[in-house]
């Protein structure tokens, strides 16, 4: 059972942070000292987050509009949109000021970063998620299915697995990146309530067998979009947690 929507609004208000308050000077000094493989791993994960967070922050308006008949739910979507915009700014800031990704603006840097992730990853965030949001904008009745993709699959599987992979990678680096680590921990803290919120919406919906099977399958497929950037063990863990989360949200499997 998940708590009521009011919990998330209060929680979000208490967890606000500013990406520009984080100090990145040590990160800027350490970045050139990363080994080639360390650079590839961390830059690949940063690339994924830049693409993912930019996409999700741009699509959330359709979800908020679809929830407009429920003031409490809409307020939570509004709070989440504020978080997602901050996450997008944070990862762009790191890519520009720490990783020195070329580009005069976020869009140009994002263009440069696409080569660091798989085509499946780009497709999920720049094709499938916007398509789902577009369908939702046209038909607000599809909110539960859209939340299933956004909160349960993208946030609960893809982004959560990536966040844990990044924190593990930072732990094992030959040099420290404390600013990136601090921001990642704050992003992960925000994502926990986003996933709880999505689970709360799913909990309230009557999810049938076909929808449950589709959610499981989407999670299993999505877990692999990071490619070599996360380990096979991490993928299996993400899928296992996905199934457990769906069950805890009240979805029954047959």
């Amino acid at each position: 059972m998940i708590t009521g929507y009011g919990h998330f609004v209060q929680l979000a208000e208490s967890l606000q942070w500013d990406e520009t308050d984080i100090v990145y000077s040590a990160d800027r000094e350490a970045w050139p000292q990363l080994t080639k493989s360390e650079n590839a791993k961390v830059l690949g994960l940063i690339a994924g987050f830049v693409i993912a967070e930019t996409s999700v922050s741009g699509q959330l308006g359709s979800y908020q509009a679809a929830a407009s008949r429920d003031d409490a739910m809409e307020a939570v979507f509004r709070a989440q949109a504020r978080d997602e915009a901050r996450h997008a700014r944070f990862f762009d800031l790191v890519s520009a000021e720490v990783a020195c990704v070329p580009g005069a603006n976020p869009a140009a840097r994002r263009d440069a970063l696409r080569a660091h992730v798989s085509t499946e990853f780009v497709d999920l965030f720049e094709e499938r998620l916007p398509a789902t949001a577009q369908r939702l904008a046209e038909d607000h009745e599809g909110l539960t299915a859209a939340v299933g993709l956004y909160h349960m699959v993208i946030e609960g599987v893809v982004l959560l697995a990536g966040q844990h992979a990044m924190l593990d990678a930072l732990e094992g680096l030959s040099v420290g990146l404390p600013g990136l680590r601090k921001g990642m921990e704050l992003v992960l803290r925000d994502e926990r309530w986003h996933i709880g919120f999505g689970s709360r919406i799913v909990q309230s919906a009557a999810i049938g067998r076909d929808e449950a099977d589709a959610l499981l399958e989407q999670g299993e497929t999505a877990a692999k979009v990071w490619g070599d950037l996360i380990t096979t063990d991490a993928i299996e863990t993400a899928v296992r947690q996905h199934r457990r989360r769906l069950k805890a949200a009240g979805i029954k499997f047959w």
Binding site: M1, I2, H7
Partner: protein
């Protein structure tokens, strides 16, 4: 239940909320997927148990006050 002409209500079991994600651990339900059977008090759950929704640890939970979250009404709000 009525005893001696007075209505007795079953005392509410202590439930715990995962502050980071809002999941509520109800001892009456347990968490069978993780081997935590129905009827297991939160205090008896192993320390390495994690929230089934967000993966937070036991330390991230706090005790719910009696009546703070009603099982049916709040769940539907």
């Amino acid at each position: 239940m009525s005893v001696g002409g007075q209505t007795q209500t079953k005392p509410e079991t202590t439930r715990w909320i995962c502050v980071p994600c809002g999941f509520i651990y109800d001892p009456e339900e347990g968490d069978p997927d993780s081997g935590i059977g129905p009827g297991t008090p939160f205090e008896d759950i192993p320390d390495d148990w994690m929230c089934p929704i967000c993966g937070a640890t036991k330390a991230d939970f706090r005790e719910l006050e009696p009546g703070e979250f009603r099982r049916t009404e709040d769940a539907e709000s």
